[in-house]
């Protein structure tokens, strides 16, 4: 079915409004993500945004598996959201078990496969020439989405920007972040601060040390962060 541009946008927005009406709330960034996932027949969706530092930040997810995969990308420094943020283009891995996927994401791909994901479509969120982040859509079947599905997904990605900005110009994203910036993410950045003070190194290096530790010990980053903040794990200068 060929959609005229305006009809497509109207349809996507009406779906978002419908979702919002179900909880009697205003349309938010989360609704845009959910509708994006529906358009691409995804089982779950994650949103990651660039914040001007080297690693984009996982912001929200529709379910535990998606959240885990978004945070894993951050820990590993590899994955679809990172590729989108760097390249500014849609990333579509139609078969996560393929050698293409493993070459691209040697550690992330197996984890995604373990989680039951078969294909991943990461939709860029763009403001002009600037890529602000990605909507990662995790699908439980292999294959490439239709042109119309992708077109709808792009409308959703644009909507993320529109919804993140309130009408008076102040960012409503701040509220989304306050709501979604979970204890996990807060802990990770707090732990980076602790490590930074312990080792007397800058924050980016401290974060890298944390991530490396999690990877080397095969542990989840937010669990390591919890240990660091509770002083169960400390980082010290080598003597």
């Amino acid at each position: 079915m060929m959609f005229h541009r305006h009809d497509r946008a109207a349809l996507v927005w009406s779906k978002m409004r419908f979702l919002a009406s179900e909880t009697d709330s205003a349309v938010t960034v989360e609704h845009a993500c959910v509708v994006c996932g529906e358009a691409l027949e995804a089982a779950g969706v994650g949103l990651t945004l660039a914040i001007g530092t080297s690693l984009p930040e996982p912001v929200l997810a529709t379910d535990a598996r998606s959240r885990g995969l978004e945070e894993l990308q951050f820990t590993l420094g590899e994955g679809p959201a990172l590729d989108v943020s760097r390249g500014g283009m849609l990333v579509a891995i139609t078969d996560v078990t393929s050698s293409e996927a493993t070459l691209r994401w040697p550690v992330f791909a197996p984890e995604a496969i373990d989680g039951g994901v078969k294909s991943i479509i990461a939709v860029p969120i763009q403001v002009g020439a600037i890529t602000l982040g990605a909507v990662d859509c995790y699908r439980e079947f292999a294959g490439f989405p239709s042109r119309e599905s992708l077109a709808k997904a792009f409308v959703c990605a644009e909507a993320v920007i529109t919804l993140a900005l309130a009408e008076n110009g102040g960012p409503v994203l701040g509220e989304v972040i306050d709501r979604e910036f979970t204890e996990h993410r807060a802990r990770v950045h707090q732990a980076a601060g602790v490590v930074s003070a312990q080792l007397e190194i800058g924050l980016p290096d401290a974060l890298a040390r944390l991530r490396a530790y999690a990877y080397a010990n095969d542990r989840k980053l937010d669990e390591v962060a919890e240990d660091v903040v509770r002083r169960r794990v400390t980082f010290r200068h080598e003597p």
Binding site: G52, G128, A129, H189, Q190, G193, S196, A197
Partner: protein, 237 residues
């Protein structure tokens, strides 16, 4: 290549070069006004732009007389320049005598200033009209069809340049706003961790100290957080 062709080429390039950090709108339009006089053989040029609410203001004029005449149009809400902007269509008045009935005040004032022809061209890109370019001559029928086409082309290039520049600025603002919102939260959490380690307290207590310090020094939490991370501030227990 003739001098005129070379000047034209140079002018078009100048008008297109708006996506630079130090772009200055007033200077840009001054250049356009000056170039119009130089290239089209008109006596003078004026430029009006609309503000976000649609009110026109004079932004550039190639001489004082023209500046006053443009202001006169705006103040009296009468003249080819205003009609041109409202309808987004050119208003060519090769002979001011003939339009005395249409814009009586303006025609009188213009004739007093020594002008005999006026051409108002819309600055327009598709559905968006951002202002008008006004050209004045001291004799009737100063611009022929070719001159008018060229003038419109200059106005069009300038319009595209301005619209693109505005769009770029808006995109940069949006991006900065959104990234700041998220980055601020990250910085505050990081500062909590740094302070917790330095003071040997829990993260929750560290935030309490940070907040108290900010309050008693009448500073924003985010600013203090940044300084904690950069080690430019030492907060005692």
């Amino acid at each position: 290549m003739t001098d005129l062709a070379a000047d034209l080429r140079e002018t078009f390039v100048q008008l297109a070069d708006t996506l630079v950090d130090d772009f200055d709108l007033v200077e840009f339009l001054d250049v356009l006004a000056y170039r119009c006089v130089e290239l089209l053989g008109v006596h003078s040029a004026g430029l009006v732009l609309a503000d976000p609410r649609g009110s026109l203001t004079l932004v550039a004029a190639s001489d004082e007389q023209t500046r006053l005449l443009e202001l006169f149009q705006l103040r009296n809400s009468e003249g080819p320049c205003l009609d041109c902007y409202q309808d987004a269509e050119p208003r060519a008045c090769p002979d001011l005598v003939r339009v005395r009935g249409k814009w009586p005040k303006f025609a009188q004032e213009a004739e007093n200033a020594g002008f005999r022809s006026v051409y108002a061209l819309p600055m327009r890109l598709r559905e968006e009209v951002i202002g008008a370019l006004n050209l004045f001559g001291t004799r009737p029928a100063l611009l022929d069809d070719e001159g008018l086409r060229l003038a419109q082309a200059l106005a069009d290039v300038a319009t595209i340049g301005i619209v693109h520049h505005r769009l770029l600025r808006r995109q940069e603002n949006i991006t900065a706003q959104l990234q700041t919102a998220l980055n601020s939260r990250v910085i505050i959490e990081q500062a909590k961790g740094v302070l917790a380690e330095r003071l040997r307290v829990s993260v929750g207590d560290a935030f309490g100290v940070l907040r108290a310090y900010a309050r008693s020094n009448n500073r924003k939490i985010l600013a203090v957080a940044k300084e904690i991370i950069d080690r430019t501030v030492d907060i005692p227990r």
